[in-house]
Structure formats: C-alpha cells, structure tokens
Amino acid sequence: MRSMTRVPRPRHPALTAAGPDRRAALAALIASCAFACGTTSASTDHACHHHGGGHELAPDAPSESVYRLEMKLVDQGGRDVTLDAHRGGPVVMAMFYASCTSACPLLIAQLKAADAQLTPEERARTRFVLVSLDPERDTPQALSELARRHALDLERWSLERAGEADVRRLAAVLGVKYRKLPNGDYNHSSVITVLDREGVARARQEGPRQPAEPIVQAVRAVLGQDEQPK
C-alpha cells in the first residue's frame, strides 16, 4: 500500500470498489479513466483534467494526511471502498450514526447547507463522506435508508461503515470523541473536517449549529489550489 497508483476521482461510485483483487480494480479504474479522459480531453472534465490522467505513480500521501490511515470501509451500496477513494479533490468528512436523533440530524443539515452554497461546478468536484461510529447497527441498508430520508445525492455523498478498530482510528485522526452508551446509542462530538486533495485537514469545525460558510470557504480554497498551474 505504500506506493499507490494515483487514480483520478472515479466518475461514479461503482468505480470506487476495491474488491478482493485490488490490482484488477485499479486496472479497471485506470482503464475507465483513460476512456473518460480520452474522450473528453478537450472538455472541462474536472475529474480527470486536474490529475494528469492518473497514470503516474503518486508518492505517499503527505505526513499529515488522513489518507495515511489504511482502512477498508463499506458504503451504503454494500461496496468496498478505501478511505482515500476520493483523493484528488476536496472531501468534507464527518462521523455520525444513523439512529442518532439529537445532534446527527443537525450535522447532516449543516453539511447539506454547505453543499447548497457551492456552485454547480464546485459541487461536481466535492465529495461528502460520512463514516458511521456504529458498525453494529449501521448496515449498508440502514445507511442507504438514511441517505434516502435526507435525499442525499449518492453521486457525491457516501455513507460508510468500518470495523470497530478502524472506526476508533479514524475518530482519533479526525479528533472525534465518542463513547458507546449502555443503551447502544453513542455520545459523540460533532466534527466536520475539510480535507484537501491529498487528505490533509484544511478546516475543522466542532459543535452543532455552526454556520456553513467556513466549510464552503475551505472547500473553495482547496479547489483554488487545484486551479494553480503545476
């Protein structure tokens, strides 16, 4: 995993599947991207345009990158995904649990408010990743149901679950505090993190009922970095 092929942002969620044969999955990704870039090379296809076609070897993610965490997750469609599946563009990441009735709906509302403030172009290049703290109850079905209830655009939003040890690690990286309560619910801090294209946290917001503007500005700053000539 140390030397990973840099792949551009997949054009649809099915392409994020890592599968049992990682090499085959990567090959499929590269092939599909070559197709995508090849046929739209003169277009404004941001997904490929800014990442050089995806054929060069990427160095390790930076030392401060959340993507140094090598963990496997499963999304609301039951597909295997990796944490760095959206490497290459801004990612707004948060942790939650589906059956939470107090702060989590506020958290999702806050993310949706930020999403709504983005322009269509910005929106097309930004991903929202919500990782569950509750691997026991948050099955893909439960996550899928939550996505439907909140009318989340699953082309750009991903609800994911991981094993208990990986959840603990991700929470530690993101600075999310949580504790399972005797009744099976969770006590947790509400934290939204904006990751840049390499997975380095560029903004962090803690607490429910926060304004969406800082999230939007951080996403724009990351997209602005993308615009700069290399």
Binding site: R68, A103, V176, R179, N187, S189
Partner: protein
C-alpha cells in the same frame, strides 16, 4: 494427570496467561465518572493485562521490525515531533538504564500498533480503571485513604526525577504492577472520555457539544486521582506524545 484431566483444568481455569500478562476481572467497576446520566456501575469482562508497562527495550525491538514507526519515518498524523525523542537515535536508546524503563513519548497510534503486533490491543478505560482500583489486598481500594494517598503523592511528585525501571512497584490483587507511581498510560478509548467544560450543559444534551446524552460527570468528587486521569485523557489527541505517557497491552480473555 491424564490429557482429559488437563483439558478439563484448562477449561475450568481458562487458557494459560499470555507471556507477561495476568488475568484481571471479571468485575464491576464503580466508575468515578458517570457512564450515562445517573449510572456508574460498569460490568467489565475478564481480560489479560500486561503485568508491567511496555519498556523502551521492548518498543525498540518493535520499531526495528516496523520501520514506519521509527521516529524519523513516522507520519505526523500518527505522532507529533516529540515521538521517541528521548532516545539517542531512531534505533538507539540514550543509555543502558532506559532499557528497563517504561517507554514514553509514544502516541496512541504507535501504542496500539505495538499491541496489535503482539496479538493484543490497548486496555479500555474501564479495564484499566478496574485493574487500577485494586490494592494488594482489596479489589476496590479507592475509598481507602492510605491507597488514595499513595496515588496522590505520586501525582504531586516532581516530573524532573527519572522515571525508573518497571516492576519495582508492589503487585496488586490481580498481580499487576506500576499502574500508579510510574507513568500515565494510554487506553484504547482515550477519545471516549467526554468531559464538559463545566456543568451547565447537564441535562440538556442539545446544548452540549455532544450527541446523545450529556457528557460525563464525576460521581465521586473525592477520588482526585481518577478525576485527574479522566481529565488528562480528555485532553489527549491520538498523535500526542509526552515524556510521562506510556502504555501497556491487554487481550480479551474470553468467557468470564
């Protein structure tokens, strides 16, 4: 003794202890902080726990075989620049005495990686506190003024003194040493200690920083030692490293 008898004995007493570990629990931890509003009693299943904290020599052997945990290669997201700075080099201790002293300046990520490499994990906060509540003679000695005084006198001691070798402290009822008096220790769920800045949010979960029930509140304000530990843990981040913070490993014991 026949094979059948041996098997029966193992079945009755559980597997033999992993090297360097002793069995702790099962027990009920009367937690110093509330785990839910009004609730303090926590059932803790039996588990194996290292008798002494992990030493510099042991951690050095681990790092030698896991280069991603060398201080010159570790990712910043997993350890701050102070990580293992008390060693002379990335694979060299500062002096011979350090070998038997507990390793400190280690992050939670590094500690958990070490324990996983040994087939274990860090102990949970409740496991650690259950083990640490015992004196040499009592399973829960926390209301014993003499026991409390020993702990507090260590907390009051100057940090300038050298840490000292592991294993010199007396064994407690479970056979565990050095839970008090040597270093602070990481726990698996260090990021599960939710302490409110003050008590005003109590009973109003929506106004707090936390989802679900309100944050934790001390149920035994006399147990200063435990309160200091909970407060310390609540201030930690996973990549933090300090000169008095080390760890020991645990394993599930299975059964009860």
């Amino acid at each position: 003794m026949g094979i059948a008898t041996s098997c029966l004995l193992v079945a009755l007493t559980g597997a033999p202890p992993p090297a360097g570990m002793a069995r702790v629990g099962p027990g009920v931890l009367e937690s110093t902080v509330e785990i839910a509003p009004g609730r303090t009693a926590i059932d803790v299943a039996a588990f194996w726990l290292d008798v002494v904290p992990v030493t510099n020599a042991e951690f050095l052997a681990f790092v030698a075989g896991a280069p991603e945990w060398r201080r010159d290669r570790v990712a910043r997201v997993f350890a701050t620049p102070q990580y293992l700075t008390h060693w002379r080099g990335p694979l060299e201790l500062a002096d011979a005495a350090q070998a038997s002293e507990p390793v400190t300046n280690v992050s939670w990520f590094a500690a958990q990686a070490y324990c996983e490499a040994r087939g274990g994990r860090l102990p949970s906060e409740r496991e650690w506190e259950l083990a640490a509540a015992a004196s040499a003679t009592q399973q829960d000695a926390r209301r014993d003024p003499a026991f409390r005084q020993v702990i507090l006198s260590w907390y009051a001691r100057s940090a300038a003194t050298r840490i000292g070798a592991v294993g010199r402290g007396p064994a407690n009822l479970w056979g565990i040493r050095d839970l008090h008096g040597l270093i602070w220790e990481w726990v698996l769920d260090f990021n599960g200690t939710l302490l409110a800045e003050d008590g005003r949010d109590r009973g109003d979960p929506d106004s707090s920083r936390f989802c679900g029930a309100a944050a934790l509140y001390a149920s035994d304000a006399e147990d200063y030692g435990a309160i200091m530990r909970y407060a310390m843990r609540s201030s930690l981040e996973g990549n933090y490293t300090t000169s008095r913070l080390g760890f020991r490993c645990a394993r599930d014991a299975g059964g009860s």
